[in-house]
């Protein structure tokens, strides 16, 4: 337990253990109406909501929902990812981009952009000055149009997808799950998790939506689909 330092504020610093036992004692007294033999499991939580809406076309739904957030989704076949990445970087004018460890090198063969690694870690100023970041994701949610990054291979630490103004994320179709419960079931809680649904946005001024207050202003999602018979948006 921490011992309190001097703080110059009013009153004496109360040892943390005192507050701990005081709060816990109050909590226990407050619920004296709860039978002492009741366990948490005795309070039922109905999980009937967990039936999945089961959209026939998860990939199509994901693409449509991401597009709803004013992000761009480009579908391509596995052999076309490098070309698509190169074209998008060109279109966005992203000349210097950060590429985290573990990002598939075969996706980088067509671009002539200046690729910057993050080992040793870039300073935050350096990171804030590059044009964009390329990452993969760990899972994607169709119903909400969300990508989830867990800092695993190809995703880098959290600051990488935050400070530069442009984020290009490569998602494989088989990473897309129908809904939020399915996504959480696939995640490892002890990794830092970032759920991204479209670019950064605010509606604080007269409820008018503005993109890119602090995070990336532009989000492009490259959707890798083995069967591209469906039309490209």
């Amino acid at each position: 337990m921490r011992s309190g330092g001097t703080d110059g504020g009013a009153g004496e610093d109360r040892p943390a253990t005192d507050s701990r036992s005081a709060v816990l004692a109050r909590v226990r007294t407050a619920v004296s109406d709860v039978p002492s033999d009741e366990t948490p499991d005795d309070v039922p939580v109905p999980r009937t909501y967990r039936r999945t809406v089961a959209p026939g076309d998860t990939v199509g739904l994901f693409a449509a929902r991401v597009a709803d957030y004013r992000a761009t989704v480009v579908r391509c076949a596995p052999e076309d990812v490098a070309g698509t990445v190169a074209a998008l970087l060109e279109r966005r004018g992203a000349r210097r981009v950060v590429v985290p460890e573990g990002f598939p090198p075969e996706f980088l063969t067509r671009t002539d952009a200046d690729l910057v690694g993050d080992r040793p870690p870039l300073s935050v100023r350096r990171l804030a000055s590059v044009d964009g970041t390329l990452t993969t994701a760990t899972v994607a949610v169709a119903e909400t149009g969300t990508i989830v990054l867990d800092t695993g291979p190809g995703q880098g630490r959290r600051a990488l997808s935050l400070l530069p103004d442009y984020h290009l994320c490569v998602v494989r179709a088989e990473q897309i799950v129908p809904d939020v419960p399915e996504a959480l079931a696939r995640l490892e809680p002890h990794r830092p998790l970032t759920f991204i649904s479209g670019p950064s946005a605010t509606s604080d001024i007269e409820l008018q939506r503005v993109e890119g207050v602090h995070g990336p202003r532009t989000l492009d999602v490259v959707l890798v689909v083995a069967d591209t018979s469906g039309a490209n948006p």
Binding site: R2, G4, D7, S19, L24, V45, S200
Partner: protein, 494 residues
């Protein structure tokens, strides 16, 4: 604004009683226009977002049940959370009240000091808990400058104003006012606004981006609240839109999270319910742009020093009340504000609390004591719209009626109180004085009556203290239309 800290260290921002404050707000036509625009817009978006989820009612049931389970076994989950966070490399602190919490934060900020020991600064993620305890003011008194980084909170802070809405705290300000605040005040806090700043929301957001980026890159300590904390894993969740949250949670060396003890949920899996309920109820989005989940510290990524402060500050008093307890389930989505006919006309400031609207009317008197907020349980038409909108099914009208009874009891005990009857009469006089307000009240009354009315248009059981009356007789439900509504419709037909 007077600040009153009583012996238990709870901070209560005392403002005039609701009827007086409401009268001032009602006279402000610009405020009413801004509010009406905001509440109707968000209301429509929310209905679209919740309407497309076929299992929405099941989600609400689950959300309410998880919160019920947590409240009934709160000590178990808090101890479990403490163990999980500690095991993951974080440090847990307990704060009995606001004074306690503010003192712990100030001490941690100083300890994180760094080479420049004279100048202490922190960046902050928007958080109701830190507003409730008056953290910014307490830090200022301790020589620490706190920078709000949410755009709306920045507007409020620079304007030396108070938030008026849980979700969009600066909703009472229009773009011209915001431009003026930025142009005049930004320079005093850091990077000044550009000389040619216009009132285009894009330009205003850009000015905020430049102003704040400098702070994100240089500040060593961040303070956040928590939307949820999973007891089994120690995972904390912060839900946001702008990315200012991610900046604060990721870039500084030290992160201090102040969390009301009611925010704990039993398991990581339970987040699947609330991450569906919250964004749709709050901003009317399928998902908010950014959700950050973290567990303790991660070497090489994010703050290496993480402190979680578990805050009571009156919550155990709320827990003690078997009727009022359900208010602790609140996930701060603000859906009840946007559907409330009273809030829509008075705005958040009239409630004299950081928690405005229907949830504020039940939470504030319980957290601060009925004596200090005696008029708030009467700041409602009991129309029931808030209950319908609440994603975790808090029966706000039931608690309001319960608290009205408590306010009367407190008066009977001989404590100084404006009498509820007098307050109700005053509120009624305001309404009866204005044909527009009367029409609103009647529409709301009709809606509430229809909710209560069973088959045959009879109300079989009235809520709260009126139950005694209805136990032996049925009450006719109010008519679907008031005479005034009918008259207007028919006059227009001709």
């Amino acid at each position: 604004m007077t600040e009153d800290t009583d012996h238990d260290g709870r901070v209560w921002l005392g403002t005039p009683a609701f009827p007086e404050a409401a009268r001032t707000a009602l006279a402000d036509t610009r405020l009413r226009h801004n509010l009406r625009h905001a509440t109707t817009t968000i209301r429509t978006k929310r209905l679209d977002a919740t309407g497309e989820v076929p299992h929405w009612e099941e989600l609400r049931e689950a959300g309410a049940a998880i919160k019920r389970r947590t409240a009934r076994h709160l000590a178990t989950y808090l101890e479990q959370l403490e163990a999980s966070v500690t095991a993951a490399g974080g440090t847990v602190h307990w704060a009995a009240d606001a004074t306690d919490a503010n003192r712990i934060v100030a001490r941690l900020v100083r300890a994180a000091g760094g080479p420049d020991t004279e100048r202490h600064e922190v960046v902050k993620v928007k958080s109701m808990a830190t507003q409730e305890i008056g953290l910014n003011e307490a830090l200022a008194a301790a020589g620490i400058t706190a920078y709000e980084t949410d755009l709306a909170e920045l507007i409020v802070q620079l304007g030396e104003d108070r938030p008026s809405h849980i979700l969009v705290p600066a909703i009472h300000r229009n773009r011209a006012e915001i431009r003026e605040i930025f142009a005049e005040r930004m320079g005093e806090w850091g990077r000044a606004a550009p000389d040619d700043l216009t009132d285009d929301p894009k330009a205003l957001a850009e000015a905020a981006r430049l102003h704040l980026r400098e702070k994100f890159l240089t500040t060593r300590v961040a303070i956040s609240g928590a939307n949820f904390a999973a007891a089994d894993t120690g995972t904390i969740a912060v839900v946001e839109s702008e990315g200012n949250g991610r900046m604060c949670l990721t870039l500084p060396e030290t992160l201090i999270t102040v969390m009301g003890i009611e925010k704990v949920v039993p398991t990581f899996t339970d987040l699947e319910v609330f991450l569906q309920l919250l964004p749709r109820s709050s901003t009317g989005e399928r998902m908010n742009p950014y959700t950050s989940l973290w567990t303790g510290v991660t070497p090489g990524d994010g703050p290496q020093d993480f402190h979680l402060i578990l805050l009571d500050n009156g919550r155990t008093d709320v827990l003690k009340d078997t009727v009022g307890r359900q208010a602790l389930a609140c996930i701060r989505c603000s859906a009840c504000l946007n559907v409330c006919p009273v809030y829509e006309r008075t705005g958040g400031h009239a409630y004299g609390s950081v928690y405005p609207g229907p949830i504020g009317a039940v939470l504030t008197p319980q957290l601060a004591g009925v004596r200090r907020a005696a008029s708030l349980p009467f700041a409602s038409t009991l129309c029931g719209a808030c209950y319908e909108a609440c994603p975790v099914k808090i029966d706000i009208p039931e608690i309001l009626v319960h608290l009205r009874a408590k306010a009367v009891e407190a008066k009977r005990d001989g404590r100084a109180l404006p009498t509820p009857e007098a307050l109700a009469m005053k509120a009624a006089a305001t309404v009866l004085d204005s044909p527009g307000l009367l029409a609103v009240a009647q529409r709301a009354g009709a809606a509430g009556g229809r909710l209560l009315g069973g088959r045959g248009g009879r109300i079989r059981r009235l809520p709260g203290p009126l139950a005694g009356w209805s136990a032996t007789r049925d009450t006719p439900a109010p008519p679907r239309e008031s005479f005034r509504t009918w008259w207007r419709a028919h006059r227009e037909e001709r």
